[in-house]
């Protein structure tokens, strides 16, 4: 490192230490930039891929009102994807680069979206559990050291909380519904509970990438801490819905004030990460197809834009001539 770089590094470290935001034009260590790009684009991809399991039910939503709520929600996710692609761009990574990494399978997205949505109750369950877990992961990110990311997350979190309440409310309706609806609700719980717990990532004993992220104030809580918080929050909510938690080992520990829960099936987790989830192929194919089938549209927009610029230029020249 040159003397100048050492100065920059020191300044950067101080900012981090004092919770001063890092902004796009500020100097930052390469590894910090890389970590952020990876995390932000992974997050963006999760929003975009995450549209698919819910979009799967828009045309089949059971009422006009539910159709509107669901469509608006999925649209919000597209919006979140947009903010986050923009946040990644401030770090010098173009949207097309980021998308290519998704389509080639190089970039990851949250594995939870590789599970299928099989009944209407799954839609509420995603709102309540999946968005709920996402919020716990994301709220600390509103204080992330990188400014554009933190600001994007403020907006994302606000909307996610709204989605979560809507999801829960849809489940409350089911919980007060017909026996078929109640069965549908419990079945969805049985299928989504464990995958949601996996959303927080591997246990702290094996989790990589965490230490530096903590130091850089990108991450502020460990996977296991967040998972425990999620369980503690969710169990009473599940009980209110009359749900049985699909975990025979679950019990409340009076001393710690926390719920203790059973062993997570990490083999399933790694299988889905590796590409063997029920919908990995469908999800990626859907995104790739959308992109490829849209190439001519994007080309047309670019061509038209260029033509227009050219025409305006010519008009300008004629006027000046």
């Amino acid at each position: 490192m040159s003397a100048k770089e050492i100065d920059f590094q020191q300044l950067f470290d101080e900012k981090i230490e004092n919770e001063v935001r890092i902004e796009p034009k500020d100097w930052m260590p390469d590894a910090y930039r890389k970590t952020l790009v990876r995390q932000i684009s992974q997050h963006a991809h999760s929003e975009i891929v995450g549209m698919l399991p819910e979009a799967n039910w828009i045309t089949r939503a059971p009422s006009l009102n539910r159709k509107k709520i669901l469509l608006a929600k999925v649209q919000d996710e597209a919006g979140h994807g947009l903010y986050l692609y923009c946040a990644a761009e401030t770090l010098g990574t173009s949207r097309i680069q980021t998308l290519n990494d998704l389509h080639s399978g190089k970039a990851k997205y949250s594995s939870i979206f590789n599970y299928p949505t099989l009944t209407w109750a799954d839609i509420g369950m995603i709102g309540w559990l999946v968005d709920g877990a996402a919020i716990l992961n994301q709220v600390p990110l509103c204080r992330a050291s990188y400014g554009p990311y933190a600001r994007a997350m403020v907006r994302v979190c606000k909307e996610e909380s709204f989605h979560q309440r809507q999801g829960y409310e849809a489940l409350v309706v089911l919980s007060k519904g017909t026996p078929e609806q109640k069965a549908m609700l419990q079945d969805a719980m049985d299928r989504w509970w464990w995958p949601t717990l996996m959303m927080f990532g591997p246990g702290d004993d094996v989790s990589s990438n965490s230490e530096l992220s903590m130091k850089w104030r990108i991450k502020r809580f460990s996977n296991d801490e967040l998972r425990q918080r999620f369980v503690d929050i969710s169990i009473p909510q599940a009980e209110y819905l009359g749900l049985t938690i699909p975990d025979p080992d679950l019990k409340f520990n009076d001393e710690t004030g926390h719920y203790e829960f059973g062993e997570i099936d990490w083999e399933e987790f790694w299988n889905v990460v590796k590409g063997n989830g029920k919908c990995n192929k469908e999800r990626l194919d859907a995104r790739r197809n959308a992109h490829e089938n849209g190439a001519w549209v994007r080309d047309a927009a670019t061509a038209y834009h260029e033509k227009r610029k050219q025409r305006e230029l010519e008009q300008e020249q004629r006027k000046n001539a």
């Binding site: 975009i48 549209m51 698919l52 979009a55 828009i58 045309t59 089949r60 939503a61 059971p62 009422s63 006009l64 009102n65 539910r66 159709k67 509107k68 469509l71 608006a72 999925v74 649209q75 597209a78 919006g79 994807g81 947009l82 692609y85 209407w120 849809a170 309706v173 007060k176 519904g177 017909t178 078929e180 609806q181 859907a286 197809n289 959308a290 992109h291 089938n293 849209g294 190439a295 001519w296 549209v297 994007r298 080309d299 047309a300 927009a301 061509a303 038209y304 033509k307």
Partner: protein, 258 residues
């Protein structure tokens, strides 16, 4: 003219249902795009239009349900009627196809829709007037979007030009059903309860031709053959499949709350 002239009029109910159904089916088609758009921003734009149309749909169904009584609700009207009872324009049930097909469908509907709502602003039924007022700004934005895309695709690359030109050729027989009077419209026009859309046909044609010209698309809209039937419930074979999805949960779990 008092509200009751409208309230107990089956023709008027049918007319309101025709408006609702048309918006609903187009929204349902736009919903199919969600998550699969060619550009993220356009994915969002199409969802936006679908949301606007669904909002308008609810307003129309609510109004119809109020007139029908007997426990009718927006959901029973939207999801529990038979295919032959749906009165939407054939235009809006045509498949999405590629983005150009969707844009062409949207453009021909929007260009008519704006003028229709403007006509409603002067209608004697204050309720319809109010719905139109609320909707007009949204629909003008739809027309802006679809017009711009018609031009972009038509005057973009050779490929996009060919695609949108073909899309227009294919959709042409479906764009003027809107101007043919159904039985219930005929009766209502005769009673003076609604105006004839014919009144703004020339304005529509001129608007449409302007955009087509700017888009370098060639089409004889004025003399195109007109497919009809949608307004009276005789549809294409596409609607049946739309309904299998639209109605699935309501049919499978009757009398449930959601």
């Amino acid at each position: 003219m008092t509200a009751t002239v409208y309230q107990n009029n089956q023709n008027y109910i049918d007319f309101i249902l025709h408006l609702a159904d048309t918006n609903l089916i187009l929204a349902q088609r736009l919903c199919e795009w969600c998550g699969h758009g060619p550009i993220l921003e356009q994915d969002i734009a199409m969802s936006n239009m679908a949301l606007d149309l669904l909002g308008q749909t609810s307003n129309y169904y609510d109004y119809a349900a109020e007139m029908i009584g007997n426990g009718a609700t927006e959901d029973s009207l939207a999801m529990l009627r038979e295919e032959r009872e749906y009165k939407n324009l054939l235009l809006v049930e045509l498949p999405n196809g590629h983005f150009g097909n969707t844009v062409a469908r949207q453009f021909f509907y929007d260009s008519y829709h704006v003028l229709l709502l403007e006509q409603f602003l002067k209608v004697k039924d204050l309720k319809l007037q109010a719905i139109a007022e609320k909707s007009l700004k949204e629909v003008k934005y739809h027309l802006k979007w679809s017009s711009e895309w018609m031009i972009r695709l038509g005057d973009g690359t050779q490929e996009s030009h060919d695609k949108i030109q073909q899309a227009v050729n294919d959709i042409l027989p479906y764009v003027k059903e809107a101007f043919l009077l159904s039985n219930y419209q005929k009766a209502l026009v005769e009673e003076g309860l609604i105006e004839n859309p014919e009144a703004f046909k020339a304005a529509w044609l001129s608007k449409v031709n302007d955009i087509l010209e700017e888009a370098t698309i060639v089409a004889d809209v004025e003399n195109a053959f007109v497919q009809k039937g949608g307004k009276q419930g005789v549809h294409t074979e596409h609607l049946g499949f739309i309904l299998t999805e639209l109605q699935y949960l309501q049919r499978t779990y009757p009398n449930s709350q959601w």
